[in-house]
């Protein structure tokens, strides 16, 4: 009896999981198949004629090349700024006894969870008054600021786990604080730097709303906005190209996830911090 019930439980669990898995993969199929079909429609068709022509047309268009380049510049620029600025800020927060540390960390934690959407209208107003609209540089600065609170948290936690003794040894040898931060702490923080860098890059690459509001000139737009405009202009005709564009735009996000997984896999635990 008991064994029977255990096996039915097991079978049921597997069946439900397989069904959920199928439900998650089915919506993706259209994008994958349509991207290889020159005359794709909105229907899921598995044709015998596979072709890379959709990818070719998307990549050959100088406007799209420009959009991918803008997206890469924006995302890499933001990642570097966030890693450096958050790393510098995390150092005193991790190492010094500061009077304002507690309130500062509260403000940081508070800012991590605020939805950016809620401040986009005033941010646009600020950009108009300061004549900063339509600039990749200022958009990058705003994106960096919005990614900072989270990055400072993660960086501080990683830095806390780097032993102080190693730095003290460096100082004895005459190294300055900045030198020891660069040559002793930073190498030991590689996992933290990668976590913050990958998260920032992925968030920036996928961000549509911020550049959509702050940048107007088509030549300055990153891929996230260009793909939306492509959908508006040709989306109702060139479904194959839309699917190919989507694939090309999604691939960096997937690669980053695979690359970053070993840093992130230990995360996602609220652990002892939550005693609800």
């Amino acid at each position: 009896m008991r064994i029977n019930r255990l096996t039915t439980d097991k079978v049921l669990a597997h069946v439900i999981l397989v069904l959920i898995g199928i439900a998650f993969v089915v919506p993706l199929l259209w994008m994958i198949f349509a991207s290889f079909q020159p005359n794709a429609t909105l229907s899921l068709e598995i044709s015998k004629h596979w072709s890379l022509s959709n990818f070719g047309s998307i990549l050959a268009d100088p406007a799209n090349q420009r959009a991918f380049l803008n997206g890469i510049l924006l995302s890499i620029g933001q990642s570097i700024i966030v890693v450096v600025v958050a790393g510098l800020a995390a150092y005193p927060l991790s190492r010094y006894q500061l009077k304002y540390k507690r309130p500062f960390m509260y403000v940081i934690l508070f800012s991590t969870s605020l939805p950016i959407t809620a401040v986009m209208v005033p941010v646009y107003e600020l950009f108009v008054f300061m004549h900063m609209t339509d600039s990749l540089f200022w958009t990058m600065m705003f994106l960096s600021a919005s990614g900072l609170p989270y990055a400072i948290w993660i960086m501080k936690n990683f830095m806390d786990s780097v032993p102080v003794e190693l730095e003290e040894a460096a100082w004895t040898d005459g190294a300055s604080t900045l030198t020891s931060l660069r040559s002793v702490v930073a190498p030991l923080m590689i996992p933290g730097i990668f976590t913050v860098g990958i998260f920032t890059f992925a968030g920036s690459w996928g961000n549509f709303f911020v550049p959509f509001i702050l940048i107007q000139t088509p030549a300055k737009l990153p891929a996230s906005v260009t793909i939306f405009q492509f959908f508006g202009q040709y989306g109702s005709v060139e479904y194959g190209q839309l699917a190919a564009f989507s694939m090309l735009y999604t691939i960096p996000a997937v690669l980053l996830y695979i690359f970053g997984q070993r840093y992130m896999s230990r995360g996602f635990s609220f652990g002892g911090a939550t005693k609800g």
């Binding site: 998650f24 919506p27 991790s94 190492r95 010094y96 800012s111 960096s144 999604t250 609220f270």
Partner: protein, 310 residues
């Protein structure tokens, strides 16, 4: 304390800073290190928040008579907001969207996945995990295109329904809210799944085993043991995904544009249309102040739940 050293969710650190660590001019040195982050946060984060509180009470506009001279209008924006039936509709749509896509959809599906996957073999688990994660990794705008095709009246979903002789319909026009809710569940569930997978690892095996020996069935074990142990994670996850869903713009905007009519017009879409399509920036700011206040309250709740020791 958690067993995880790397945290996606902010966590207090174990180590306390050493008192008197390189004492002397640490105050100045610390300020210097933190200066770049202070400047960036101040200019691009706190100034806009303060501006929200100011402009929400003005008639700021980009076109028309009021664009030349911006005036303080008191609570007029809020008065017209609460009198506007579209605003009330969009509050209602936001609540519906929140409840079905975040609270019910992502929470329950994420928890179900984590529980069912808990004691399966590794290979099976990672295959299912990868399929669910695919939705999470896909950028929001691409999620919108995928579901635009999936729910079209010649799309994959109607094709599957056709196997069961159910007539094809244009889901985005007939059931737009259902469509955006499903798309957001597809995109967001992996986050809750990962959170609950981590949380279930903290449930002591011995308690579950002794409950089983005492004759507790699988539902009793779930409701009497597992859920009480992970209730902190459930609450924290609830606040986090509520905040994420509240600010969701791209997915809805590119999938339905808030339509047809205003059937999927949540607060962020309404805010965008007032501020950037109708150029009523003052009024748009008043709507974003409402969003901001809800966000601030939820953030405070989140901080209370984490019970930080710093």
């Amino acid at each position: 304390m958690s067993n995880a050293s790397v945290d996606v969710v902010p966590q207090p650190s174990k180590l306390k800073s050493k008192r008197g660590f390189r004492a002397g001019h640490t105050g100045w040195r610390a300020a210097l290190f933190m200066l770049p982050s202070w400047v960036l946060l101040l200019v691009f984060f706190f100034v806009p928040i303060l501006l929200t509180f100011y402009f929400a009470f003005t008639n700021l506009s980009l076109t028309g008579a009021s664009s030349a001279a911006t005036q303080f209008v008191g609570f007029r924006n809020f008065a017209s907001m609460f009198a506007d039936p579209t605003f009330r509709i969009s509050v209602f749509k936001t609540i519906i969207f929140l409840i079905f896509s975040a609270v019910i959809g992502q929470q329950i599906l994420g928890l179900l996945l984590a529980i069912l996957m808990n004691e399966r073999n590794r290979a099976f688990r990672s295959v299912i995990g990868v399929l669910v994660l695919a939705g999470w990794v896909t950028p929001e705008i691409v999620v919108a295109f995928i579901f635009f095709a999936f729910f079209s009246n010649t799309g994959t979903f109607d094709m599957i329904l056709g196997w069961f002789h159910i007539k094809a319909i244009a889901w985005l026009y007939t059931f737009p809210m259902v469509s955006v809710v499903v798309a957001n569940i597809w995109h967001g569930t992996a986050f809750s799944m990962l959170v609950y997978q981590a949380a279930l690892g903290d449930v002591p095996k011995e308690i579950l085993e002794s409950a089983e020996i005492d004759g507790a069935g699988r539902f009793q074990r779930l409701f009497r043991v597992t859920l009480p142990v992970i209730k902190g994670s459930i609450a924290t996850n609830m606040v986090l995904i509520t905040l994420q869903t509240l600010g969701l713009f791209t997915l809805i905007y590119s999938l339905t544009g808030g339509g047809p009519g205003n059937k999927t017009e949540t607060l962020p879409i309404y805010m965008y249309q007032q501020a950037f399509s109708d150029y009523q920036l003052g009024y748009g700011t008043a709507i974003s102040l409402i969003l901001l206040i809800i966000g601030i309250i939820a953030s405070f709740v989140y901080m209370r739940m984490l019970k930080i020791e710093m």
